[in-house]
């Protein structure tokens, strides 16, 4: 098959893996040769759906022995199957990189024959890049399910980041949509191997490990997803979890869910994840409703604030960094600026806060500036205008909300 056709098929089949980050502060790959690492990550283009293209993200092959119900590459799908040669792929990538189309390589694959053999071939591609081309730029290597610790270690020497996709939050849910995969043995065990490697040798996998979950394919709720995420961050030291809203690309009749999942749900999960990772929120504090899902009408921080009105309003000139981060409309940058400024000044006006970067529309009802409240009416009435008539708040908290209203 012509290389252009292979590129088309094997890119198209890799696009549902949403990880696009290319940021890495340190290189594990010498100083000779070409290619470098960017601390910030660089977007080289944006797709018509608005996603950043920073990596040359392709499959080595779209052939797969497995039959995961949601996956476009599953063996029972009647699609054209193809495969890059190792050298062919390495050469093609270098052409993209030289022209500044991409910031690095993201190599993934269907499972051809078995995980071990396919992974060996993926590693071969990277060896060509590292040893023959002396490429010292960014490489993200996908780990295939059930691969042995020895091969993971081999990849860990060569790659900047590695990941294995968990896809579902629990064993039961995985069984529903990926019948051939064993949650603990095929997915969690390789993650723990990577954790051990990173802990023992800082030069290996310097950009850490990540994972991805498909949202909504197995009928799971947000609480199940976030519970697993919290565990992965705490126990496996993952640096990032990606959430990809399920898009039905197959006609599999036994898929538990057949409708596409809203992008809003995906975005709420990212926000909740961010609150846990960066804003010091405990998992238990996240505002799940009775069905175990995050509210769609409000972002989780606003929902949390509304459900915890007794903790507001907060005096901007006195609150700790952590407390500032809990105010809707105040992010990490503006919280840091407030803390710095307060060393020499008192913040006296809404305009100052706006200049600093606070989103006043969201924050104004939850703050005091030098004891003065600028929100609407009395504090107890203040959330009325925010809520709107059709808002659905978590049922279990209706009583609490009634008090506020």
């Amino acid at each position: 098959m012509e290389i252009l056709n292979k590129l088309k098929i094997l890119t198209d089949a890799a696009k549902y893996d949403v990880c696009a980050s290319s940021a890495c502060s340190q290189s594990n790959w010498g100083s000779k040769g070409f290619g470098n690492m960017s601390r910030m990550g660089v977007c080289h283009s944006f797709t018509p759906d608005g996603r950043c293209i920073s990596l040359f993200k392709v499959l080595l092959t779209n052939q797969c022995i497995n039959d995961c119900l949601y996956c476009i590459n599953r063996k029972s799908n009647d699609r054209l199957k193809t495969c890059f040669g190792e050298r062919e792929l390495a050469d093609l990538f270098i052409q993209f990189y030289k022209r500044n189309y991409v910031e690095g390589l993201f190599l993934t694959s269907g499972i051809y024959k078995n995980s071990e053999e396919t992974m060996e071939r993926m590693i071969k591609v990277i060896e060509i890049l590292r040893f023959e081309y002396q490429f010292r730029g960014y490489i993200h290597l996908k780990v295939l399910p059930g691969v042995s610790p020895g091969l993971i270690n081999k990849g860990a020497v060569l790659a900047n980041r590695m990941s294995i996709n968990l896809e579902c939050p629990t064993t039961n849910k995985l069984e529903l949509i990926c019948p051939e995969k064993d949650f603990k043995h095929d997915l969690i065990a390789p993650m723990l191997s990577m954790k051990k490697i990173i802990k023992n040798d800082k030069t290996k996998i310097p950009a850490g490990q990540t994972t991805q979950m498909i949202i909504g394919a197995s009928g799971e709720n947000d609480r199940e997803i976030i519970t697993t995420s919290a565990w992965l961050y705490q126990k496996v030291n993952l640096c990032r979890i990606y959430y990809s809203a399920f898009i039905p690309v197959n006609q599999a009749s036994n898929l538990p869910v057949k409708e596409p999942v809203s992008l809003k749900r995906e975005s709420r999960l990212y926000q909740a994840d961010w609150l846990m990772r960066r804003y010091g929120f405990a998992f238990q504090e996240l505002p799940f409703d009775q069905t175990g899902n995050l509210p769609l009408d409000f972002d989780p921080k606003m929902a949390w604030a509304i459900l915890n009105l007794d903790k507001f309003p907060i005096e901007i000139n006195k609150a700790s960094y952590r407390a500032l981060l809990r105010i809707p409309g105040i992010g990490e940058i503006s919280a840091r600026r407030i803390i710095k400024l307060r060393k020499d000044f008192h913040i006296t006006s809404l305009e100052e806060l706006k200049n600093i970067g606070v989103v006043l529309k969201r924050a104004v009802n939850f703050i005091l500036i030098k004891g003065k409240y600028f929100g609407q009416a009395s504090f107890n009435n203040k959330i009325l205008p925010i809520l709107g008539e059709n808002s659905l708040l978590p049922n279990q908290n209706q009583e609490q909300l009634a008090f506020a209203l």
Binding site: L4, T11, D49, G50, R99, I247, E351
Partner: protein
């Protein structure tokens, strides 16, 4: 009387101090001076800066942040140097006013965007940074080889004057290559680790595209997920000014019209 300064942090800083002492008007050497043609001017570069600082210290009190030159100072200096690269002329007004505020209220006040002028100045700096960042992503090189020498050539349209910073950023990425970036005004040429800047009209080089474009096009289109279509966002992220050499513009338009 007008105090003329160069587009450098120290030059503007001392010009502001001298302006505080004398009440004279300040103007950049790069500003069109039709308005003040009849006015006499002093070049700040020709004056004794130490004397200006001493006099300023005596009259208005010591400027501790200038003496200490700590992290806050570096941040402030960096902000001003980046803002000077912006193409808008009103940057000078903002820079001068922000330095005056820094003298009055300290660096923390301006570095954290507390006043409207400081906020506007930092926004200008943000635009310059964004120009650099976009250049790093959107520049497309054409590789050519001449004997043993390898070259990467590109065309890029710069708004702010950032070409030298951009090419320096590529230095490590393309170690072993000579780099040339042509803009409508300037050619930036990194040849054997040395950076040269030439006027474009004095440099006769046409950059012709090779046919690797088609690989990019295929790759780009294959990355699109129709179910997530959001061309409005894509157009915002790849502003129209880049469309003259990025194929993406045409493709996004076709997606818009449901042709893809």
């Amino acid at each position: 009387m007008i105090i003329k300064f160069k587009d450098k942090f120290e030059s503007i800083f001392y010009a502001v101090l001298y302006g505080n002492l004398t009440g004279y008007y300040l103007s950049s050497q790069n500003e069109p001076d039709d308005l003040f043609q009849a006015e006499e001017f002093i070049e700040i570069e020709r004056l004794n800066w130490k004397e200006i600082l001493d006099q300023h210290n005596q009259k208005f009190g010591k400027i501790n942040w200038f003496k200490n030159q700590d992290e806050q100072f570096r941040q402030f200096k960096n902000t001003i140097e980046l803002a000077l690269r912006h193409w808008k002329q009103f940057k000078y007004k903002l820079i001068i006013e922000t330095i005056r505020q820094a003298l009055k209220f300290g660096l923390i006040y301006v570095n954290n965007k507390t006043s409207n002028e400081a906020k506007d100045l930092l926004n200008l700096t943000g635009q310059v940074k964004s120009d650099i960042h976009r250049a790093l992503g959107f520049i497309r090189f054409i590789p050519i080889e001449r004997g043993k020498e390898k070259f990467l050539l590109a065309y890029f349209e710069e708004d702010s004057q950032v070409g030298d910073l951009v090419i320096n950023n590529f230095k490590n990425k393309y170690f072993g290559y000579n780099l040339l970036i042509k803009t409508s005004k300037t050619v930036y040429f990194l040849y054997q680790h040395q950076l040269y800047q030439l006027a474009t009209n004095k440099f006769d080089l046409q950059i012709t595209k090779d046919n690797f474009d088609k690989f990019w096009e295929v790759f780009y289109q294959a990355n699109f997920i129709p179910e997530r279509k959001n061309t409005k966002l894509a157009k915002k992220l790849i502003p129209k000014k880049y469309w003259s050499w990025l194929k993406e513009g045409q493709i996004i338009n076709q997606v818009d019209k449901n042709l893809i």
